[in-house]
Amino acid sequence: MSATALTDLGKPSGYWADSWARLKRKRAAMMSLGVIIFFIAVSLLSLWFTPHNPNAQTITHINLPPRIPGLGWLGFDGVSTIAGVTQDRYAAAGVPADVNYWLGTDGLGRDLLSRLLVGIRVSLSIAGLATVLDLSVGIIYGLVSGLNKQRVDTVLQRFIEVLAGIPTLVVLVLLLTVLSPGLFTIAVAMVITGWIPMARLVRAQALRFRDQEFIVAAQALGASRTWLALRHVLPNSMGVIVVQTMFSIPSAIFFEAFLSFIGLGLRPPMASLGTLLNEGFQTFTFLPFQMLAPMVALSVLMVAFNLLADGLRDAFDPKGVGRI
């Protein structure tokens, strides 16, 4: 990786262009990128538009199965069989013909599609926030550790070594038992151990670049350490940083869903992929559609992020030097 970065120093745009060209050749990664952009777009859109009010409880419209006009033949016809009785639930509930719940409604009569859109946005926000925090803490820590005197570096690395011994799960559970769970607290809890891989990576990059000629030359010209870090080490590490970031996003999405699912994360009525799964699971065996939609959404997101991360790693690091 560094070799590529170094040879292309003069024209960093070439490095990015090359990587992009390599990425474009990976169909799975490009499709994943499309899926992710789509998810981000609809979740952003849900700020202004959702098919129904995601929090409005319509008591008469509870537990309605999905109905999508035109897709009735695919099973989205609002008909379901419970305890041997097949029935058009919409008719039974007296729902007007022009009111459709594409993904059905939950036990409180809320539109599941609207809740899913909001839920995706909340989950992505938590993941995004956690990742940004991971990035900032990790990069600063890594640069400070890598570019500082030996003794400072040693102390900082010892600290990391101790922290890395604590399982993320334990940290998350402890913190969320103490802090009242919310979007911000969950993200912060994830950062406690989440920044470590990034810090290690950036430090390794800093150590690698520290003795390179252009760094020594810059030092000879009187460049400060901060200048070196910002002007040289960071830009040359962008590739690996991007790849690492891409791997930490799905992990953050997973942990949010996990925590909310076991009841430690966000609490209803707040919607997130985790709380939707949690609510859906209560009735999963007889109203599976309530859980299936968030299941599919979460799985697709996870797959897309993982595939994109794989693709990016191959694109930025074609020779596999930076692999573990």
Partner: protein, 312 residues
């Protein structure tokens, strides 16, 4: 050689890490805003006083800390708030078995299936078989175990009625939770083994073996497996952590009377002593596994191992 010194250094770090974890856990737990008593409103101040005295909650926090530490060293993890008078140690001891069995089963099933999938994918590189294996690996890595657990429960247990929905009675009731937990190690090891195996198949010694009449299959099983499975040991650490995480939900979904299920219950009920105990248990397990893996690896790999001797 340096192994003893290395091991010693690691042990020191483990002890420090454990101390940090125990201390942090203790103080976090005692900053908890929630009350440990389920029916706080119904308690009279006198009753509360009695309970606080019994659990030592009215002493200075530092004293509680030192006391906890002293008890911990003797294996006393305190008394559960949830189940009156039941020591945490007893509570957890009764649940370790199920969790260990589930974890070991999942790890064995997952890694052995993963090795087979990885080897086949590498041998049949760039064929539909390989693509299929890649898809399995990506799904296994991406789809959380609790989603898989719920799906298995719905399809296999509820709809097809092939296996018990939940519980922990006979072997058949362990199959679904095992499968749900096994997918992640399966995916991880398949992916890892495939990468390593491709490297082996392109290696010089594979070529020498080929020049002497071995087929690709034979090279894969005779040379490839040893060369890719030995470094697979290094994945055991992360795999264990994932299993622990997964076990919390999977045990809940399938009502497995294990540590994970207890942990979730305790967390939701503010049962500090149990939360602390499980925290310590998990951290200790994680540290031990990572340590054991590193030491084991340097012992097993003949490239690192310094003393000779055959294995068969």
């Amino acid at each position: 050689m340096g192994l003893a010194k290395y091991a010693l250094r690691r042990v020191v770090f483990m002890v420090v890490t454990m101390w940090v974890i125990i201390t942090a856990t203790f103080f976090l737990m005692h900053l908890l805003p929630g009350s440990p008593y389920v029916n706080l409103q119904k308690l009279t101040p006198e009753q509360l006083e009695i309970l606080n005295t019994r659990y030592g909650l009215n002493r200075p926090i530092l004293e509680q800390y030192l006391l906890y530490f002293a008890n911990l060293l003797t294996g006393d993890l305190g008394t559960s708030f949830q189940f009156k008078n039941q020591p945490v140690t007893t509570l957890l001891a009764g649940r370790v078995g199920a969790s260990v069995q589930l974890g070991v089963q999942a790890l064995l099933v997952g890694t052995s299936a993963g090795i087979v999938v990885g080897v086949i994918a590498a041998v049949k590189r760039h064929t539909p078989v390989d693509s299929g294996a890649t898809i399995v690996a990506v799904l296994g890595r991406s789809v959380p175990s609790f989603i898989l657990a719920a799906l298995l429960q719905l399809v296999v247990a509820v709809n097809l009625r092939l296996l018990p929905i939940a519980g922990w009675r006979d072997f058949s009731s362990t199959i679904l939770p095992t499968l749900a937990l096994a997918m992640a190690p399966l995916a991880d090891s398949a992916r890892f083994v495939r990468t390593e195996m491709v490297e082996v198949l392109e290696s010089d010694y594979a070529e020498l073996a080929r020049a002497n009449g071995l087929s690709t299959q034979q090279i894969a099983w005779r040379h490839g497996v040893r060369n890719s499975v030995i470094p697979l040991i290094t994945l055991l650490g992360p795999m264990t952590v994932n299993l622990l995480t997964g076990s919390l939900v999977v045990e809940n979904i399938f009502a497995v009377p294990g540590i994970g299920e207890q942990f979730v219950k305790s967390v939701l009920n503010n049962d500090y002593p149990t939360i602390m105990a499980v925290t310590i248990l998990y951290s200790g397990l994680f540290l031990l596994v990572t340590f054991a893996v590193d030491v084991l690896y340097s012992i097993i790999d003949p490239r690192i191992r310094l003393s000779g001797g055959g294995r068969r």
